[in-house]
Symmetry: C2
Subunit: 193 residues, 2 copies
């Protein structure tokens, strides 16, 4: 394979698409985000990177909590709408039916198959690392509670084949496809060429 | 939808699967990882979380660099093999044909469709946040260079429909599926129920 040097970017395939929820001045607001990752298992921690000027960041810092909501195709239009319109210009509190859990101020989307209720344990302004004038804020949150609809579970765990969620790439949303191999198994067949 | 409280975990769908490359004691080693995220665009930054006892971490700390390699189905067995076997027990330097770039010590996989050459700008031991005895190390790396095979590009950018990469979930690997909607478009059709 001939390798081409291409434009430097933090390409990742496939990325998750989630809706980050936060109450801003007491009202629910949601932002679709692909800059999200698990970072620890014990306790379960998740990181999100959201640009510092985004409306959602205000709410995360006001309450020290946020939610991570995995959308299904059923709410894809509402998900995309939340990415087109800023909470600074439009009231997004009416887009989704919302519920709250133990943390009281992390709004979660009832129709999303999966919701994580998170408490911020670390905030990092990326500009402090890069010296740039502006940048993303990295929030690391502890997953205090997780919620899912019964119909998306298999043996008590969210089942990727039932969620009907999607990935974002090239200004398009893409489905999750079929199974290709068993992990921790196909590798046993590995042979050096 | 009735919501069930389920086991707290940092569930994410779909996750990327990448192979992290690092030279350990001068020899290439690779670790498949799903705890990875873009965190900044200017400059392009990527974060990875790897458990502190993993062999790869030694190399990342020795050289201050790592690579992020996006696998295709063509190298799925080798990818999985690298997750089954630790570099502490097996020499993984022969699994893939390797090339190096500007940073000299970040080994990249020739057969992987996409390679990111990264320089560590921040290391965070998660246990310092949680108080646990052990944990993941979060490395934030600047993407100094990106490389891709010509056949995976469309207008100079990696094309998700050409990469044949996969996601990990429920001890299985899953393909990326068909397009479902245009982003920044389907949201214009959003109407409150």
């Amino acid at each position: 394979m001939t390798k081409n040097k291409i434009k430097s970017s933090s390409y990742l395939f496939p990325r998750p698409v989630v809706l980050i929820g936060a109450n801003v001045n007491g009202k629910p607001n949601f932002e679709p985000l692909a800059y999200v990752s698990s970072v620890e298992d014990k306790p379960p921690l998740i990181s999100i990177a959201s640009y510092e000027t985004h409306f959602t960041n205000i709410g995360i810092k006001q309450n020290g909590v946020f939610s991570v909501n995995t959308p299904s195709e059923e709410i894809i239009a509402g998900t995309d709408y939340c990415g087109i319109v800023s909470g600074k210009e439009a009231d997004k509190s009416e887009v989704f039916d919302v519920f709250y859990g133990e943390l009281k101020t992390a709004p979660m989307i009832s129709k999303a198959p999966l919701n994580l209720e998170c408490k911020v344990i670390k905030t990092l302004a990326i500009k402090e690392l890069t010296g740039f004038e502006e940048g993303h804020e990295l929030f690391i949150g502890e997953v205090v509670n997780a919620y899912a609809g019964e119909e998306y579970l298999t043996e008590g765990e969210p089942d990727i084949s039932k969620l009907k969620t999607f990935t974002y790439s090239m200004k398009q949303y893409w489905k999750v496809g079929e199974r290709v191999a068993k992990a921790w198994e196909i590798g046993k067949k590995y042979k050096k060429d």
